[in-house]
Subunit: 309 residues, 6 copies
């Protein structure tokens, strides 16, 4: 029997939820799947440690039975929502095609069990195999929060690095109708990738645009659609989240990024959600993981809406 729990006690699972293997038979409202894969990072590695670090950090935000309470609105969220930690996909290291196969398969299994699958990367390359688990959908959209476009045909000699997941996904998934990218601000960009994305009808919104008018940006998001939300940690300003492979100055504030995520969740049917590119080893203060954990919680709060007490 457990007593009142401190944040750091017990084998760490996401938000202190029970761990249930995908090999077992179970159902839940929300399932977390870790994807400790960062072999596709072309700069500073470390995102492989994010599932572990987010399990630890999220212990600080473990919701009670009544969820979270907002004192300003006197409302609760996540009340009674059943969370499960479904463990991690085991990467096949160098053999990325096999790793990607395992990721797609695990995502499919998780989709079959839960109302909302939450994927915790890993680098952004994993979003391609994750999206393959949605190949059955006739029409869906991606909202991507990201400093970078990640739509390169190839980079550093490979077509499957973390610069290309959305290029690969749209090639393979006819149901993926469009990608809305919010937060762009890389310096060394790839003109071909931008032109290809625009040619395909993707919506490309810079971080500067968000700062100028968040409300205009929110209006451009999809409505009433099936949407997969892909949150690259580097969309946030590095002062908020320094622990990421390729930080870029002048990023979104946490509130801005959360507003985009919230509007996405509230205006559409969320079919999946990933948080990628958080590299805890690059932030000795530990706050990057805390920010990531809080973000997971608040996006879930948007989905499992605030109910009056």
């Amino acid at each position: 029997m457990r007593h009142h729990e401190l944040a750091f006690t017990g084998p760490a699972t996401f938000f202190k939820a029970p761990y249930r293997s995908l090999a077992e038979d179970w159902r839940a409202e929300v399932g977390f799947l870790g994807i400790p894969y960062d072999f596709a990072v072309g700069y500073r590695p470390g995102a492989r440690f994010a599932p572990g670090a987010l399990r630890e950090a999220s212990g600080r935000f473990a919701p009670g039975a009544e969820g979270y309470f907002d004192f300003e609105t006197e409302t609760y969220c996540l009340q009674g929502v059943h969370l499960v930690d479904a463990g991690d996909v085991d990467p096949a290291q160098l053999e990325y095609q096999e790793s990607f196969r395992r990721i797609t398969q695990a995502a499919l299994e998780l989709r079959g069990r839960v109302g909302l699958p939450v994927f915790v990367g890993g680098d952004h390359s994993v979003t391609y195999p994750l999206l393959r688990a949605y190949a059955d959908l006739d029409e869906f959209y991606v909202v991507q929060l990201d400093a970078h476009l990640d739509f390169s045909e190839a980079r550093n000699g490979t077509r499957f690095a973390n610069s290309s997941p959305f290029r690969r996904a749209v090639e393979e998934l006819p149901g993926l109708k469009s990608v809305f990218v919010v937060g762009l601000r890389g310096l060394r960009t790839n003109p071909e990738a931008y032109r290809a994305a625009r040619a395909r009808g993707h919506r490309l919104i810079s971080a500067r645009k968000v700062r100028e008018s968040l409300s205009e940006v929110l209006e451009q998001l999809p409505r009433g659609q099936k949407v997969y939300l892909s949150f690259d940690a580097d969309v946030l300003d590095p002062s908020v989240l320094p622990g990421t492979s390729s930080p870029e100055v002048e990023g979104l504030t946490y509130a801005e990024a959360l507003a985009v995520a919230r509007e996405t969740v509230r205006g559409n049917t969320l079919v999946g959600f990933d948080l990628v590119e958080l590299a805890p080893n690059l932030d000795p203060s530990g706050r990057s993981s805390l920010v990531g954990a809080r973000l997971l919680a608040e996006v879930l709060c948007s989905r499992y809406r605030d109910l009056p007490t």
Copy 2:
């Protein structure tokens, strides 16, 4: 004989002020008392090292005889104000009642010697024994800058952790009429604590409110009262001050927090001031301590007002 002094020379004392033990007889305008106690932290410890770290960092802001000069207004502050470092309270480690007794006693002694006692924690639990040193006041108020309410009846099996100091204080001190809390934004909050605080008439102001309208918040602060100012380092945004046990995103900017502190000091009679929950070990860049030291200096500047040259 000392020459021009570099910031890091000499045995470190607060702002290079002389050290005078409370065992000796002396008087001064401002007295600093360190309280290296963080045994009540339920998450990441380290605030026990804050008095030492702030002594070191404050060497960089040691005021000259003429105090600090503001080039925009051509005014000075802290001119000729006599500062003393009164040393630290020695905690009794696990025996918190004894530690608290020593803290209260040292605070009483300091109050008897100086115009303004400044307490440097330590975690926030120490504000309870510090406030006990004001039991003689018939009516006074607390302005608390904090991300968290710290008004829980109990937590993790104890009623005296850093989640409860103000609950304990109001129970014991009839003179403590109300607490104004500014900067609230925790995610995993305690509904009962919020309701109890409101029921007692406390003013609870979120960080979001401060961002929306700082001037409205300033208007809600007490006026013309005896006020104790309790500054929890985590009220600041973690990008400004990452070195704290429980950082929370979307905190106050330094300017916002200073404005609240300044307005408090200028509109009331400041009877005491603490800075707590700064954990220097959690910030390898060292800037958290520099921010804390500068904050101490600028709050004192508000009190020992700018005089035309």
Copy 3:
């Protein structure tokens, strides 16, 4: 279904063993219990994070079904030994008597379930409540690997800090006949504590003695007894394990410390084993946790002896 597992995948448990709560009914050969309690540390805290860090680090040493293979002797150890992670005791933070009560109770429950309970602290104060779980034994001994005696009557105003666990234990447990302390080398020692320990017949062996003649030291260890092994991480030289509250130069090598632990295990009946005072936050290289995890594994190897293939 899991594939070949990388060290860092999955919710971390000790050596990737299954987690089974003490609230459930189960039996195993070895059970690990974490005790994330470091409120009794009078210097640099952090041992509260050791259970989490050792769970993560031990993933690198997760034994396969056949245990570990030694290529020089062509033998295996830990073959087929059933390990369970029994989770953590939840400390009651400031209320040490309640924390200690919970620790003793959990230890008792674990003793009832497993052949060998392994306790992962936490600071050394927890060994006192752990030893209370052996109050039923008429005669048993402690072998303590430690740089410090930890036998003070009181320190810093308390009798229950990490300087006193063995003083408290011998006062309360008539069955605890003697303590063999190996590795002593503190500078600021407490003469009264040394005299009291010797008066009670404890064996006090310095690190210098170990360096002079390890074999003589091994001969002085108990034989054929019920023994509880208490391993304070600071017995190791800080170059081997820098992540500890109070490192002392000229400590034992890993091989020396392991030899003492092995001889203890092989020559006696091991009734319990703790590893304490490892503070992962004090070692940014991460190797302290890897050393601690390997030590746990190798002590278990001594117990579950090498069998020819």
Copy 4:
């Protein structure tokens, strides 16, 4: 033959430009000169490592043949601009007059070879010998982005520390007509220095002013002049760039600082540009160097203007 290059491959040079020694004969549009000198820092050293760290970090922003592409305006900058890394000045360590002599001489040589010399410090004291390389100009101006005035007659017993470069420069260079300082916000300021600067007609603009109205500040900058831009990394808010000797809260955002630099470059003839006081050792996250490298690139982009594709 090189393939697509990852950021971190090859001997690091500024933006992966070729290294050409000043002992050789060559011409280029832009030449970088490192000045690994921080012996004049009176607080936390480390700027000596900035040239090396910026060479490494700038690998991530190595422009391709077509320069950088801005997807919002569909324009390019730095297209076809020839960059050269001219290596470092070797300081004579303690012998600052000799170090300064070498710096002036190397700057003169670089000026003779390139359209725009870019100097990477080192601490701010090096701007004095750098400016001496412009003694031939009859009239030129300095725009200084800085938290501190750096115009002290002397400090800590010396007239040549990083608190005094501009005082020394105006004494020696009749052509240096005025200094525009933007971003001032130090607490422990030197009244005499401020008065002397104002008496000489320097324009002193606080960080607060920039926040109040960036456009008004931009209007106060020089126009149509020969200008030397001196960028002290501490003008940026420490949340953006923590790696600097003397961080000061409430600094400029990256966008604000870049706007000031851009306006300076576009409205005038840029004769030289330095980036100083970046101390990579004070920022274990590595992002300070990335910010510095990006800033160098974007200032160059302002100079080698955006051309329609």
Copy 5:
């Protein structure tokens, strides 16, 4: 013209040697080739940064024209030996077969230009493509200093990770007659790999053996052969070199490891030498890179033998 040089000045190259691209035509006695590839690391990444870090650190050991002087023997080594930094191989990131092809090709080119090629990894997987550059040799041997055997058929789903380079090499290179492995001490070993290595006649020597009798170990090394020396940084004790992916306690001292390397070099014809698995990001003290740089220098000293003055 350069003055006396400090360790950290100038674009960093190995030992401040000139950089010459493999695309150019040149000859030298010793050529360094960096291989910033660590995508095959199954635990803690970072070896991709070793070539850059060793270039920086080796600046401290830049030999003068007369090489290094040994005051005890009054001899010099490396006198007049011509060193060249040949740059890095650009990995193709995820596409390991392509990366390996590039590595082999670059190694071949370097072999054609220099008396002794020195390869700086990267993880240990790169030794396989490096050894392929010696396919022309009818008979040669490998001396491998390593904590781990690295002879697994496959691991974590791949046959090309850093656990398998020597298995792959012996399969492909009939000229590679045997591997002498010194320093073995992993805990979680692979019995099949050990048996396969022994079956093929490899010599497997534990770290324990080295401690027992270094001279006996030295006698077992090959004599009079063509030898490739592969130095895995983790053969060293983690107290000496903490910056490595998989540190193992009870490693070789620097003197022991150097003795093995020296004896190998002096008793045979050294055809190639690699230093791998140094991960500078895992050692914030920076000393791991300094140890690695010194080791490179001292192995070269063994090869370019001490000559009387």
Copy 6:
């Protein structure tokens, strides 16, 4: 009134001794003087922070009234010895001649007040002005524990860096008859310096010699002389003390270095003692400062000899 004191409480002074300014009149047995000067370091700076860091760390070894107790010999040392912290010399930063003048003057003043002056650097350049304070002695010797000779005529363009203090001292002080250097092991040595030192009759003993036979080395030390002991932190192996500018592998163990220091103290009349080149910023684990503090204590113990109880 102080209670039992934790290590980290109170304004930090050396071993919690009272601070007495050299401007006041006092006498004591032992006086500590900090010299926070590292402007003469040609590699990694940080020794300027050593006096502050050693004040903090030495709190852990604050001797009680009875000094330290050795349980093996049942003896005490430092019993009743009066310690004073005399503060720091204020460097004149760039103006090294002025800094050196202040150091010499302060050392002279301290010598006039105490039985044994203990100097805490700072880099090794400060030993030259310290030794000048002994110009009145007709005959005295230096025992220097050091990895490097520090006897260069000049380096990097200066004759006063930390490579030359003993060259300068012997030039200026006829009474300084010889220097015994123990622990030498640098790689990039200066042949001229070695020859000059030998020509002057200095005794040069390598670290290798110490390892081969410590007793032979001890026999070579001076006897019955006035001796100044200069302890460069880098004489210790970097595994023991990583926090130093220029760590060199294969250094002395703590026990070996202490044995040399002890023998020096016991066999001679100790006239002064310095500890230099400890750079706390290069060791995030904090143990370098703890080692340095312990070393100070144990050298004092050798001087204020063990008395039977």
